[in-house]
Symmetry: none
Subunit: 412 residues, 2 copies
């Protein structure tokens, strides 16, 4: 089967945003074994959208649109697709109730234009949107499958995974199962070099390397008639990858480093507190991205000013005066200090220069010291990144989590 | 003039990479006042590429391709475009010399397939590639302009800026200027309802509404012969929008709420400290996303555990026992407490239930209290969001910044 992607949004044509939805969906279609020959972006213009849809209809089995489902005048995707495929529109009462409920819950009046979001092609499969107000939908007409998803990635991403992928999987037949081997401490190209021979010789399951900010993963995908048959194909390959990559593998099919660290702390009955300077709260934010983190996370201190390092965390003024705030000594005092101040079993300290300003010859932009304190011991790492403020901070926060995983958990 | 973008690369159709070249080029074309109605992605397949190019030729004045200029067999962009436009190919000796020189400089033999990169449409304008081996080029045929650039962003980006933009600037004439009116406290549909009549009646400048997480903006775009003429068209429209939207406008052409708040604090010589419970460090992270924030930001405390609220921030146990941690009283004590503990002029307290667990009938998931303490006064807001953990936290952090903007800055 062939699918074609159509993104509807003038903001993409103006270059205001990049079409990440296309990547998400293309990758998913690739996993499902559905070919994509064309992706198109068109603006919020009914004539041009109609033209693009007609072209896609003539060359693809599946048309997937993103964007243009919202309440405003220039949101025209549903109306245009319905017209091309001769569908009538109907009010979908459950969706309207949902939208009304949303506005009630935030104590705001629902403007009349919001009702438009609940008008969908009659008889379609509705994709409930739990991440925004505009539902998505799917219908079949003239032997073609049409799927429509909202444009904002925070809505499109979960709806693709949870609504559209299962819908398409049912069409595609057979079964596809993937495992993600998550890695920290090894770059993508190094990982690929280690896995090169395996990758070359693998057809089912396939092995594909991916990079994420400051980490990477290997995705192993098997196709078979049943989930059990997929699992049987996957297990030995995943085991071999884990053996080749060793301690740099932090988990298989886990969500994130913060999830793995949280689970490990909970299992061991340990509590955590963090002290951050250059990461400015990012590590604390990531730890608290995980629901239920109050089981093990007590809290954190962002000590941007040195007075907070000394006053709240007990970093010694003498240390700041002699070796400076960006030093292993200060990272260690922050880690032990925040554990003491908040009464935690494990403490983290991060101090560095995120940039773009503030660097010197001795202490350049991108230099960060990260320390974990646990049971009277310090585990400290020096890190240097040259990839800009956001990535320096992200990598420093990941390194802190990785230090906990490698040292606190391995000790038990 | 109308331009159309064609990206050539199977790796985009597989979702291995995202088409950032399209954003780069679209943004540049927007600046040049050249309309983009379509972007297309097609794989390394000569028939499909030819089809896409023929379609583009019939509806655009300018065709810009990215990708497919390399040495391998599936790099077919130049050959296909030349064929569609009836151009012959010719060896471009300076490009061949350049490629040979590159291989000499890295002490590697040049494989014969690399010579292919020096074959270009006869008589074209050559875009020298100083960032890789494959040159780009431009030619005019049948009244259309064709430009070809390499695909890798590290090559495409500088060649777009330094070769293609100047080439097009000479063709385009005129100019386009946009203003973004940034809004917090009003949903996109409400904003559009207020601006509806203006939007309907506007052709130059145009007005378009956009939504971002927990905020929205109106983009006003004018076309004219000169930047000054664009400005003259924009100014009265932007003023009218600001007047209609009132205090919900937090800035025009500003980066973010955190930037506006940071600038306001710096101008007034005020310092800031924040205490976060459910946002878990997100507000602190956003404040420190802004380079130079150490001018006004002292730091923060993430008081996830109640013991941290009492111990570090001085929240009263009695208050926690009687009204609970999620209450306006605790938000206010956190705000005043963190300002006192860190010695800041302005304090923020955030307490709430981000979910998915932890809600009750009285205090449902998504309920957050946010308080700003300044000069002995509390400014406190109750917020309720039903959009999931991430957006609850994002909106709570934005609300805190908005409270500072509206109350601390307006007092002066």
């Amino acid at each position: 089967m062939k699918a074609e992607l159509i993104a509807v949004g003038t903001e993409i044509l103006l270059g205001d945003i990049v079409n990440t939805d296309a990547q998400l969906i293309s990758r998913g279609l690739s996993e499902l074994g559905i070919d994509v020959y064309y992706q198109t972006v068109v603006g919020d213009n009914p004539d041009r959208l109609r033209h693009v849809v007609e072209t896609a209809r003539d060359r693809a089995d599946i048309i997937i649109t993103t964007g243009g489902l919202g309440p405003t005048l220039d949101d025209l995707t549903k109306e245009t697709l319905a017209a091309v495929f001769g569908q009538t529109m109907a009010l979908h009462q459950p969706s309207l109730d949902r939208i009304k409920g949303f506005f009630q819950s935030i104590h705001r009046p629902m403007t009349p234009n919001n009702e438009k979001q609940a008008w969908l092609p009659a008889g379609c499969t509705v994709f409930v949107n739990e991440w925004g107000t505009a539902p998505g939908c799917a219908f079949e007409a003239a032997g073609k499958h049409v799927l429509m998803l909202p444009g904002p990635p925070r809505e499109c991403d979960p709806m693709w995974q949870q609504c559209a992928m299962p819908y398409l999987r049912a069409l595609a037949g057979g079964c596809i199962v993937s495992r993600n081997v998550r890695v920290f401490g090894l770059g993508e190209s190094n990982m690929e070099a280690i896995l090169h021979d395996m990758m070359q010789n693998s057809t089912n399951p396939t092995i594909a390397p991916y990079a994420k900010t400051s980490e990477c993963y290997a995705r192993v995908t098997a196709k078979a008639d049943t989930p059990a048959a997929c699992e049987a194909l996957l297990a030995p390959v995943v085991d071999e990858i884990c053996a080749l990559l060793g301690a740099d593998v932090y988990g298989v099919d886990v969500d994130s480093l913060e999830q793995v660290v949280g689970d490990g702390l909970r299992q061991r009955g340990l509590t955590l507190a963090v002290a951050e300077s250059c990461t400015g709260g990012l590590l604390s934010k990531r730890i608290t991205d995980v629901p239920g983190c109050s089981d093990y996370y007590l809290g954190g201190v962002c000590s941007y000013a040195n007075a907070v390092k000394t006053g709240v965390l007990g970093v010694q003024q003498h240390t700041l005066d002699t070796v400076g705030a960006v030093s292993p000594e200060v990272a260690e005092q922050m880690a032990a200090g925040v554990a003491r101040a908040l009464g935690a079993d494990v403490g983290v300290g991060i101090t560095g220069i995120a940039g773009p300003g503030g660097g010197t010859a001795d202490k350049p932009v991108g230099l960060v010291y990260i320390s974990v304190w646990y049971a009277g011991q310090h585990f400290t790492r020096r890190m240097r990144s040259v990839n800009g403020r956001d990535r320096v901070r992200m990598q420093a926060a990941s390194t802190a989590l990785d230090l906990i995983r490698r040292n606190v958990f391995e000790q038990k």
